[in-house]
Amino acid sequence: MPVMNTEAGRQAKFNQLAQAYGSDLYRYAMWICGNDALAKDLVQETYLRAWKALDKLNDTGAAKSWLITILRREYARTFERKVPKFTDVDSVVVPDDRELEPDDRAEIKQLRQGIMKLAPKYREPLLMQVVLGYSCEEISKQLDISKSAVMTQLFRAREQLKQRLRKDGVTGNVHELF
């Protein structure tokens, strides 16, 4: 997309970023801060900062990564020390799972609790992959760690989640997962 210096061009560029990435950013924010209101604030603050610094974004292909960087910084700066630790799956707004079989519902709930209880070094790359659709390469760049380290963290994150399902004795389909 050509760089447009007019106010209308700037607005169009911003609108494109909002439409393309707003949902992913919210979902990611929701998981890292665990609170609907804070997640919305975090996303809005991210876009407010993005709007102010929009002229610095020359490569629109890097926009998603740029926005995630802003969001992570904003989270660290503003919320990290204030947000209570996850203790209950009910603190996260989740989709209606009523159409699922009871066993599946139990597994999904256990997985949500498991994600919440993962250490940040495992949770963050996992959410980048599952929620944002990032590749290991992209996560590596975003977190500034080696691709090998990312793969290890992702592997361990999934292993911990699977162990949690085994440990919690969720019955039914859980055995088919491993």
């Binding site: 700037r10 607005q11 911003f14 609108n15 909002a18 439409q19 707003g22 949902s23 919210y26 979902r27 929701m30 998981w31 609170n35 609907d36 209101a37 804070l38 919305k40 604030d41 996303v43 809005q44 603050e45 876009y47 407010l48 709007w51 102010k52 503003t78 919320f79 020390r81 204030k82 947000v83 209570p84 996260v92 707004v93 989740v94 989709p95 597994e107 999904i108 709930k109 997985l111 949500r112 994600i115 959410l127 992959q129 599952v130 929620v131 590749s135 290991c136 990312v150 793969m151 290890t152 992702l154 592997f155 999934r158 292993e159 989640l161 699977k162 389909n173 088919e176 997962l177 491993f178």
Partner: protein, 240 residues
């Protein structure tokens, strides 16, 4: 050289949606590989389901409105509060007010009701002990600082929208329980105006720089904080 099972399992656990041709070939290379891949697919489907979060209504519209209403664009817009009586009781509609960043609040009273309903209770519940340094760091963005007597009782602090751009939402611990203080750096208010909505009282404070609203349960809890807030949130001295 084909991928061994151990390496395949590691890649499967790290990036199950990997589309590398060698990895894709390996998925079907033997019954053992195929079974592992299918189990991983089932797990991934459940993981994706678990991680999915419904989007709040109006999320994108609110983001789009940010640019339109950013302080950069609204600079120069003067906001004058409505002429108000010393005490105003705000009628509260059953439907309540939706929290929208793009909402053009007609008055500071409307803003306060909207804001407090949005996350006032949640913020009070999550009060977990911000440090005085946090308080100074946040307030310094608005070229104000807090007296230690005030900074030390702030238990939660975060940025928040105000009628005229970004402000600060705080929860302070007092003898009367937690009380919310919203700092509005660019908003003028009628000093000591009292509002009542839902089950809380709100007291507006005209500050040397900007204004504040003290919101809590009962007139006593907010009134007793008036002097402290007014004397505590002051412009940061310019160092020579």
């Amino acid at each position: 050289m084909s991928m061994n099972f151990s390496e395949f399992k590691r890649k499967l656990g790290a990036e199950p949606r990997n589309e590398d041709p060698e990895f894709l070939r390996a998925r079907h290379s033997s019954p053992e590989f195929k079974e592992a891949a299918e189990a991983a697919d089932r797990f991934e489907a459940k993981l994706e389901r678990a991680a999915s979060v419904p989007l709040p209504e109006g999320l994108i519209d609110d983001i789009l409105a940010l640019a339109e209403h950013s302080p950069e664009r609204s600079a120069g817009r003067n906001w004058w509060p409505m002429a108000v009586a010393a005490s105003v009781l705000i009628a509260v509609g059953a439907a309540g007010l939706g929290w929208k960043m793009n909402h053009r609040w007609e008055s500071v009273e409307e803003y306060l009701v909207d804001h407090y309903r949005h996350d006032g209770d949640k913020m009070v519940v999550m009060a977990d002990g911000s440090s005085a340094n946090d308080v100074q760091a946040v307030l310094s963005k608005f070229d104000v600082s807090a007296a230690p007597a005030f900074a030390e009782i702030v238990s939660v602090i975060k940025y928040c929208p105000t009628p005229d751009g970004k402000g600060v939402h705080m929860v302070v611990n007092t003898e009367n329980g937690p009380v919310t203080v919203i700092y509005m750096p660019h908003t003028q208010v009628a000093d000591r105006e009292m509002l009542a909505f839902d089950n809380v009282e709100a007291l507006l404070v005209d500050l040397q720089s900007g204004s504040a609203a003290i919101i809590g349960a009962g007139v006593k809890s907010v009134s007793e904080l008036y002097t402290l807030v007014q004397a505590s949130i002051i412009p940061t001295p310019i160092s020579s």
